[in-house]
Amino acid sequence: MTGNNIQLDDQGRLKHFLTIEGIDRSLLFEILDYAESFAAVSERAVKKIPLLRGITIANLFFEPSTRTRTTFELAAKRLSADVLNLNILSSATKKGETLSDTLQTLEAMHCDMFIIRHANSGAAHFIASKVAPHIRVINGGDGRHSHPTQAMLDMFTIRKHKPDFTKLKVAIIGDVLHSRVARSEIHALSILGVPEIRVIGPRTLIPADISSLGAHAYYDMNEGMKDVDVVMMLRLQRERMRSALLPSEHEYFKRYGLDEKKLALAKADAIVMHPGPINRGIEIESSIADSERSVILQQVSHGIAVRMAIMAMVMGNQPPENKTLEDKTTGSQSEETA
């Protein structure tokens, strides 16, 4: 029993987007394909389509974030939705309002979709279980649990460079224990058919029973990097340093930082990814972050297209089957510019 079907409707279509777990391969590909059709929108002079016109989307960030919030906001605006940014850290909850009360208040303002970022695992599930039936919830990251839009934009980026998931060896490196990104990536890679998923890090940062998710743990990066096609670095929170988890930045970088020598162990055409923001000299050597093998900035731009696709889908839009999105939206676009 996964209990995740809260995010799917009776027909198996996306109603909320809370976790990658429990979504089947064809739906994940559908998201990636749909995102492909949105990627072109960002490159046009008029970067807008009216798919979600009249829809109000509330960005509910209970935890600070710049990049995720901004790309969600851009994605929403490119779909012509109205966006409400709420930094809840500094408002209601400080005054003692409960999460349920905050949600009800926003429902009363006739919001149609909530994007949730919260420090506690399960927050998006909780909110999805509480909201009125017409409201859609997208998880923008909950605790250590899940960050499904990040995982999808990572899959999108991987596919751009390595079209066949079933031939890949992928390494995820760093603080897997505290990483919602890693958990979602592992689920997505595994559902998309990646035969070898490795997690690399010190014992203190690799959670118990990671193998139950289908990933193999390597504590020696030189071992784990051998022949991989994709190198996915994770962000290391500075507060993990000088705790019982890690002795120092210096020692961490020496063992698990991505430098030229370690990258040389991967396949010659391996790509390097990072969800950002990067800590240069801690997780990754500057020269690699800026090199041609790094697709870090592509990840950011892909994030907009992927989030547009997911937002459109949870609002009931289906990817066009025969005609391209361009055809479908040309008419409305002229309306938009008129």
Binding site: G3, S100, H118, S121, F126, G143, P207, A208, S212
Partner: protein, 424 residues
């Protein structure tokens, strides 16, 4: 009043009785089993044909939320739920507000319990002042006020010196220490068992060693001090091994398990079901089986409800922001009987785990049907099935992980001191 309970299957593990016949009560005391005492004329009769008649159940741990948290539940509401579940005696832990560390709080609890006239309530006093784990509570005064033991509830005693001295002092006062064992550092604000589920859900995890290290520490101190210690809410299979090993070395300790841990595992948390957030956390399938084995072989002797009623807001938030504990008191008997159907326990063992064993641990003279003892009695229909509907619960706490479960075994009568307090 003279009362006859006729034709029931009388099970009294304390006296090794399992027979069908009459039970005779006079002036609140049991005066005969099987044969009517000379000249006994019943003024009232209960026909218990097809039912089981056993001592009233004794619950070693249920939170009644009074004083201090009456928005969650009250002594009146919870003892009403308990009496309808065959429970005639309840031990309540000291983590009330204020803490049960003065005779005045003990008095208050007794007074409210006697006002509600349902189950008898036996408080546990605090082991350390304010449960802070720093200085000793006035254990002698608490004992004299009526506490049947002392405990630090969930509050950790980080300083091992304090634990050692607390155990020594409890020995001086000849009072049993009910110890909940968890290493606070290893707990590290965890909310679920460390394993595949914590990894999948990304929830802060509590390793098995949080319990086993704390139990090991306590066992060594019991060995040193000779204190009478009861280990509360065992949750891991490894803990059972530690306790069994200590017993073979002659260390005289007892242990109990909460009913939820005998039926649920961390898998039941599924997608963040906050009703499954309990402490100690629900562990693995292997642990659940280990606990059942531990009960069968006598390493654990008592089963308690570990009942913790909450208002709905307490469970309505992202998982780790909710309050731990489950409302279980009304399922204690049927879920224990399930262990008989699952062939883990005999019926005698199951009833002993709810009567004679907890009576011995709490030092109560009830939990048996000996001639001359107080007639605290539970009569239940072992075949009657019912469904757990949260709205129909008598407890003020609707936070049960057993919602929609099918229960078999329904209490029909509960007697306290020979009076029929509950009748279906």
């Amino acid at each position: 009043m003279r009362l006859k309970i006729s034709s029931g299957r009388i099970i009294d593990p304390a006296n090794n009785i399992d027979q069908t016949g009459g039970l005779f009560i006079d002036e609140g005391l049991i005066v005969g089993i099987g044969k009517s005492p000379k000249g006994f004329k019943a003024e009232q009769e209960i026909d218990a044909t097809g039912q089981i008649v056993c001592p009233g159940l004794i619950d070693l741990c249920a939170r009644l939320r009074e004083p201090g948290e009456e928005h969650k539940a009250t002594i009146a509401s919870e003892t009403t739920a308990a009496i309808a579940s065959g429970i005639t005696s309840i031990c309540c832990p000291p983590d009330t507000i204020p803490v049960i560390d003065t005779p005045a709080v003990v008095e208050l609890i007794f007074q409210h319990a006697s006002n509600s006239q349902q189950s008898k309530v036996f408080p546990l006093g605090a082991l350390t002042h304010g449960l802070k784990g720093k200085t000793l509570a006035e254990m002698d005064a608490l004992k004299n006020a009526g506490c049947i033991g002392v405990s630090n509830a969930y509050a950790p005693i980080v300083d091992t010196e304090v634990l050692r001295r607390a155990l020594e002092y409890a020995t001086t006062c000849e009072i049993t220490v009910h110890l909940y064992c968890e290493d606070d550092y290893l707990r590290n604000n965890g909310v679920v068992h460390e394993g595949p589920v914590s990894t999948r859900l990304g929830l802060p995890a509590i390793p098995e060693t949080a319990e086993t290290i704390a139990i090991s520490r306590a066992l060594l101190l019991v060995e040193q001090t000779g204190a009478r210690v009861h280990f509360c809410r065992i949750s891991t299979a490894r803990s059972i091994e530690l306790l069994a090993e200590a017993k073979t070395r002659g260390i005289d300790v007892t242990a109990d398990v909460g009913i939820a841990h005998l039926h649920l595992t961390d898998m039941d948390i599924s997608s963040f079901n906050t009703d499954c957030y309990v402490l100690p956390p629900l562990r693995s399938q292997r642990d659940k089986e280990g606990l059942r084995t531990g009960l069968a072989n006598g390493t654990i002797t008592a089963i308690c409800s570990d009942h913790q009623p909450h208002e709905s807001d307490a469970k309505s938030a992202p998982f780790s922001m909710t309050e731990p504990g489950a409302s279980t008191i009304e399922m204690l008997l049927p879920l224990t009987l399930q262990l008989v159907r699952d062939k883990n326990l005999t019926l005698q063992q199951a009833i002993a785990a709810l009567t004679s064993a907890p009576a011995k641990i709490a030092g109560l003279d009830t939990g048996n049907l000996s001639i001359g003892s107080r007639a605290d009695i539970c009569i239940f229909d072992p075949e009657s099935s019912w469904m757990v509907e949260t709205e129909a619960l008598l407890s003020a706490g609707r936070n049960t992980p057993f919602a929609s479960w099918e229960m078999t075994g329904k209490v029909t009568h509960t007697l306290v001191d020979g009076n029929i307090i509950y009748q279906l």
